[in-house]
Amino acid sequence: MRERSHRTGPGNPARRGPRPVTGRNIGGLNSPRNGLRARAAQADSRHVRKGIRALIRIESVTKRYPDGTVAVDRLSLEIPDGSVTVLVGPSGCGKTTTLRMINRMVELSEGRILLDGADITRQPVNTLRRSMGYVIQNAGLFQHRTIVDNIATVPRMLGWDRGRARTRAMDLMERVGLDAGLAKRYPYQLSGGQQQRVGVARALAADPPVLLMDEPFSAVDPIVRKTLQAELLRIQEELGKTIVFVTHDIDEAIRLGDMVAVMRTGGKLAQFAPPDELLSAPADEFVEDFLGAGRGVRRLSFFTSAGLELTTDPVVAVDASAAQIAERATDDVPYLLVTDADGRPLGWARAKDAVGGEGLDAAQLLSHGRPFEFGRDSLRDALDCAVLSPTGWAVAVDGDGRVVGVASQETIAGAIRDAHAERKGSADRKAAAGAPGGPGATGARRTAR
């Protein structure tokens, strides 16, 4: 039994796209990752039944280039079905080589790779490749073809008629967030971010079960990158592909990965674990160094804010009477959070000033900063809000931006301690029960709030 019922499991608010659009999320399973976990768990049991545990299985694979360079050294990985596996590591550690061995753009020297249980060398190489979408840095679009033709390339090669391929391409443009008006343009007329979206659409065109992505977002600016990452998660939530994603950016790995494989120079696997586990228990010094500073705080991204104890004591409406204000402004409450009539935050008022009698002046308020969304944002977001808040209190809002309460830095610190304790407890229980540590195993889920 997996620890699904824990209130503050590793709920992965770290990985959040824009609002999920599928019905699957109703009832609090509103992080893309959650739906994914559910599916991964199903996939797991299905595979156990079929006797296949992973869609892509890399078995003790070595790649020696003709010049003698050993790019990958006896690498073994089980890449789970229907989820995102990230290969991360310093430059030259063999990530691209590993990825390209999967679609045989690079032939392995030793070992074997199984796709759904069958050796990848058993089918014709071009058939294999067409069953795997491939996305690379700078997109690698065909500059001499229009966007719609670029996307329709593989369907056309598979013999779809022009009309069907085009319809499919237009559907995909919409799915990846491209305006239909761009269809007839050429790649040079698109921004880098748009080109990258076309690259993703092109890889998805023939609906391949596997998507191989080699630093797809590293050539765009950080803001566009964030958007693209979020969109990838959204698309993944809808399509449930098996994605192998290469990056040298550990933050990207943690944000996108259901499983993260950290590789070290020389093509060796340093650690293969879910991101939360990576942050809490790096296998060795190399992984720890690679993760960089702030591991503890970053790990908070995996704790939901749903367990936080909020208080509404300091919250008053802007049109509150003097008596109401006086009642709120006790000794424990140096600041009052003022909301508008709809309950949306306006700002903080000094309790002493407010009690003075002139009423609440919206223009005199201290900024409330960016609020966090209760239950959906992580403890890291909550802590961040509290630290940045002029009053040291974080403002919690619901999905519509209405205040549901506030939390002090101390409250948040307490919640963090509780969450750690609970996580540790469940890990111990799991160890005691001898539960297998598959990707689904850590997928505890937040309960609906």
Partner: protein
């Protein structure tokens, strides 16, 4: 300056009208370029596939280019006689020195990511060459074609060395023989106009074939191709050649 004969009164020994000469000239200039292109495409493909082949191929085309046409004529005349074929064979050979590197460099300029994407999508190497590499090399190939064509138009005139096969170039020898300098003017001006018109035509075709090129970068790309294929602006090379 004898007689009152005008610019377009072609001496009868040439057995052609003015327009006939133009037709003849174009035929002798363009067939070799077309033939050169047909030869260059597979040669370039081999040079791209087997990198080691490129330097020796380049060396051979350069050496062939260095052989004066008169030497070709002396050799060929035993086999093909004093015919236009004898003129067109060396012109074909000369065009290789421009076309092979233009195609090779054009194909090699296709970005690595594009090639990787094509490979990953399951293109066979033939599909990749025909559907990706060649189309993307079109601007470079046309840059080469323009140089080769203009140079060929200017070179046809050397055909007059073996009698009547120089087309508009024969007007030059006739100008000398008949002391009619206006014929020389006709020859030079007509050749120049032909070169300009054909060049413009090639530019037009290239633009039709490459709607995907960023506007404004067309000339930039051309300049970069010239940089690769060596200092061969189309004005300069024909002049060198005319000296042969």
């Amino acid at each position: 300056m004898s007689g009152g004969a005008g610019f377009f009164d072609i001496p009868s020994d040439l057995q052609h009208t003015y327009l006939g000469l133009i037709g003849e000239h174009l035929k002798e200039a363009l067939i070799p370029v077309a033939g050169g292109l047909a030869l260059s495409l597979p040669i370039a493909q081999l040079c791209v596939r087997f990198r080691w082949l490129y330097p020796p191929v380049l060396w051979v085309t350069t050496v062939l280019y260095a052989i004066p046409s008169i030497a070709f004529f002396v050799f060929l005349i035993d086999y093909t006689g004093a015919t236009e074929t004898t003129v067109m064979i060396p012109l074909t050979v000369y065009s290789l020195v421009v076309l092979v590197p233009a195609i090779v460099d054009g194909v090699r300029s296709v970005p690595q990511e594009t090639l990787a994407a094509a490979e990953a999508m399951g293109f066979t190497s033939m599909q990749r060459y025909l559907r990706v590499e060649l189309p993307i090399a079109v601007p470079a190939i046309f840059a080469g074609l323009r140089v080769a064509t203009v140079s060929s138009i200017s070179l046809v005139s050397v055909g007059s060395l073996i009698g009547n096969e120089g087309a508009l170039g024969n007007l030059l020898s006739d100008a000398h023989v008949f002391h009619r300098s206006n014929l020389a003017v006709t020859s030079v001006v007509t050749t120049a106009v032909l070169a300009i018109v054909i060049d413009a035509l090639l530019i037009g075709i290239r633009m039709l074939l490459t709607p995907w090129l960023p506007r404004g970068s067309r000339s930039a790309r051309r300049a970069s191709v010239d940089a690769v294929t060596g200092p061969a602006p189309e004005e300069a090379r024909p002049l060198e050649e005319a000296a042969r």
